[in-house]
Structures are given as C-alpha cells and as structure tokens.
Amino acid sequence: MYVAAPLLLSAFMFSCGVYGVLARRHGVMLLMAVELLITSANLNLIVFSQLLKNSLGNIIALFIIAVTAAEVGIGIAIVMLLYRQRSTVAVDELHLMKW
C-alpha cells in the first residue's frame, strides 16, 4: 500500500492544527484547531493499521473519537462560560494573570 501520501496529509493537518492553536484567538476556532490535531493522529493510526494489517490501530481510533467528543463537550462548555460573563470568546482578552 502506498503510505507516504496519507502520512504527509496527516503531517500537514497536524501542522495546520499547531498553527491554529498558536495563531488563532477565537475560542471556537481554537477548539477546531485542536480537533484537527487529534484527527491527524487518528488518520495516522488508521494508515498504520492498514499498512501493518493489524486492526489495533482502528480500534484505538474509535476510542480516540469517543474520548475527543467528551473533550470537545467540555471545551464548548468552558467557551460558553466565558461568553456569558464577558460576551466575547477572544482568548487574548484573558489576561488577568501574567508572569
């Protein structure tokens, strides 16, 4: 099987996610960037699973999807909490504490 292409795609997605987390300031955008990171890892697992003819990778991917759903649920809850108090979801306005 030709693995270089999906692995490169996954690396590209991971880079986009890292860029998103570091550069974006919108709370929901940050959540999406984190999702992108996790999805890229999932893609890797599935590719390796096919390559090694070992279904373990697929099973791990399922677990990750389930766990990530819970994580995003909490992320949305925290963003909502921020929005209710400050009517903004911009993360760079979180600067009560420094150094």
């Binding site: 399922l62 819970a70 995003v72 649920g73 809850a77």
Partner: protein, 118 residues
C-alpha cells in the same frame, strides 16, 4: 486497488461539476436590475442604524453538547455488537457496566434539567 475508488472519484467530479454548472447558470440567466430599494434588508420601515445583535442561542449549544457526547459514545457499541458472539462472557459484563455508566450520566443530566428547553 486504486481502481475500486474510481466510482467515488467519479461521484466527486460529478458533484463538483453539478455545483459549478448550476451556480454559473443561475448567474447567467437570472435577471439583474439592482436599485437602492431592492438592496435594503427590509421593504419598509426605518433603515437600521446598527447591525442586529449577534444571537448566541445558549440552550441550543447546551443540548448540542450533550447530544454529541451521547451520540459519539455509541460508536463503541458497533464493533462490539458486530463480533460479540466470539467474545467471552466478560465482554457482556464490561459492556453492561459501560451502558450503566452512560445511564447514570443520563439520569443525572435529566434530573438536573439539562433536557428542558425553556
């Protein structure tokens, strides 16, 4: 191996082409006669000064959040259900525990008013 993906590629091309054709076609044949009145958001009344306040439907997000969690947890059932005949009894117990825990979360959510849409 790649040949088996051909129908999907074909479908993608078809879908893309259809979208492109319909958008350009409607551009080309639709009547265009703009005037200031037509471009206003409302037919009558006072022209708005500020853009409307952005709505943030909190109830919707709450329900969506709870839905996503319960929805996605169900994917763990599928692989188990497909092959559970080849598993020992332990897997049945493990799955019952999992369902029980989801049930506890659900009861908690229900009793605390997470499902009420007011």
């Amino acid at each position: 191996m790649l040949a088996s993906y051909l129908p999907i590629a074909f479908l993608l091309i078809l879908a893309g082409a259809f979208a492109l054709v319909s958008v350009t076609l409607s551009r080309l044949i639709s009547p265009k006669d703009p005037s200031p009145q037509k471009l206003m958001p409302y037919e009558c009344g006072i022209a708005e000064i500020d853009p409307p306040v952005e709505r943030f439907p909190v109830r919707f997000y709450l329900v969506a959040m709870l839905f996503v969690i319960f929805d996605v947890e169900v994917i763990l059932f599928f692989p188990w259900a497909l092959s559970f005949k080849s598993f020992p009894v332990f897997s049945l117990i493990a799955m019952s525990v999992f369902i029980f825990m989801l049930g506890v979360a659900f009861v908690y959510e229900w009793r605390n008013g997470g499902l009420e849409w007011d």
